[in-house]
Symmetry: C3
Subunit: 237 residues, 3 copies
């Protein structure tokens, strides 16, 4: 797909249009943000790719998916991030990401044998926790949109979330990153709590927000901060 | 416009990048979602096209506008959905949709004779209801942004909404779908109430949300659900 | 970059797909909106370009950045708007704008000598006001996301906002326009207050909303209106 490639911005182009922005790119992003402790390089790539897919930003995606693969994210995991975000950021966003990723896989010689296959080994389900979620959502919205409630149970929590191709902690990190990056503040409490249940630390969550400030913009992060603080405060761990 | 076409994702491409997503596309979306009762195929297409335009997703638009035309949406109605969403999702989104649709009309041999012409026959206006809206908006925001208040009356409610090229119930369905798809929760109560006044049933609204879960992403729908429930509860019909 | 150009919609294309929309474009937007008093042509261009960058709408950007340059926005200012919005609407949005602007500068023979250079003359900082902001943000979020808090001080308020390439009042107009255009209602009070401190009048803010109704869509503006009204009411000037 020549589209994403033709829109790739070189450092030279950036310097020709916005020299100050090139300086920020070099000094602040490349040599500072990406080298910060508190969140691994692999996690920073997961956060960044999730933000770009959630915001449908194909222009930056080629570079960042390649960086993710260089930073230790497996191709299988990239494919699963796209699959996950088809549901958590809309089908069209996933299709744009597929178009970009298809070319990257072709260039890198990645074929389907290396990718997710039919999920023969679903992860174990915490029936008690999922039962509470189902009861609450059914009580709240079962009469409003029964189809949404049904698919949420059958396709998301009893299927997608149990796929082994992405660890639950990473899947949660993808989800929370996408929510922040698309301004979905109301959905952060449930999924940030779940992310921390799945092993994401408070420090990592704070650094994910730092990464997102640059890749999803300051306003999205400042709108998320009060909600994130409240989630942190309400936890007893 | 070769752009949208070159970004069209084939089933083969999808299978090569994200085999699991291809399985969801076939099993859940094609063979389940689109065949559900409660909302006609034509309405599902209207909801889906409105969501894609509101989210500016040209990659998926070619396929879905073609599907809409196949599912009984008239070309005149497609053009009017774009016209309507120029106001309800921003001018640039409409221009992207025009670029995609131009090629579709060329391929299908649809010319302007089949499209909307100058609106010679405006629909009747409910002066009492519109008067209440004008009074409330003028009182609330007339001193803040008089231009917005004036255009809302003159261009939207006394012109655009009276165009016969799209039935009021369908125009409302387009509006509500676009609001949910772009996270505009605060504007849902007025327009969902208007949609139901215009004939949209509660069951259809619930199924529209189900359709939107897939095409606008789960978070947008879960953020809309509490507001939709409240609209349902406050109505006496 | 042929992308943006190939997606440019001509009046003829628009008339072929949506004749009514062409009529609105001519009658309401070109001959009415853009000629309204209360906000200069230069300011309308700043608002419009900021909205398009914040919404990542490259299809419309070529036309509107050219219009901005015709309306008295300096190339240096266009580059600085992009630089500013890299932080306030996300890195990827700025990169898309760079791709579009690179071609425009090439066509117009604008080279780096005319653009922003290293910021040798930072604007004076109101230490008292900035100190209050830092204390409040540190108290609120210093323990949640220390990286965000640090970059907000060091890179945004003690660096980016002090750059002379864009007047503080214009920088504020860009920021507020981007917030409204991307639905970031929660961040409007701080930045609209700052914009008015920087010289933006209430009438100009109201007209900026009118401009944004068309370029960012009615729902974004109606969601912003109650917040804008409250900012106006709380000010004593």
């Amino acid at each position: 797909m020549p589209l994403s490639r033709s829109r790739l911005i070189s450092g030279e182009d950036l310097g020709a249009v916005a020299p100050a922005l090139k300086r920020y790119a070099d000094d602040v992003i490349t040599h500072d943000l990406w080298t910060r402790p508190g969140l691994s390089l692999r996690d920073r790539s997961i956060v960044t790719v999730a933000a770009l897919i959630a915001r449908n930003q194909t222009a930056e995606m080629t570079q960042q998916i390649n960086a993710a693969l260089d930073n230790g994210v497996e191709a299988r995991e990239v494919s699963e991030i796209i699959t996950h975000l088809a549901f958590y950021s809309g089908w069209g966003n996933a299709m744009s990401a597929v178009a970009v990723t298809k070319d990257i896989y072709a260039e890198r010689g990645i074929d389907t044998a290396q990718l997710a296959v039919a999920d023969r080994f679903p992860l174990p389900l915490d029936e008690a926790s999922e039962g509470r979620r189902e009861t609450a959502v059914e009580a709240g919205f079962g009469a409003v949109a029964p189809g949404v409630v049904q698919y949420t149970t059958d396709v998301l929590f009893r299927d997608l979330w149990l796929r082994w191709e992405l660890a639950p902690r990473d899947r949660s990190l993808v989800t929370v990153s996408a929510l922040v990056a698309s301004g979905q503040v109301a959905q952060i409490p449930f999924h940030l709590g779940r992310a921390m249940d799945n092993g994401l630390t408070q420090e990592e969550a704070g650094e994910a927000l730092t990464q997102l400030a640059f890749y999803a913009g300051w306003p999205n992060v400042f709108s998320a901060l009060p909600v994130v603080r409240e989630v942190f405060e309400l936890r007893t761990d």
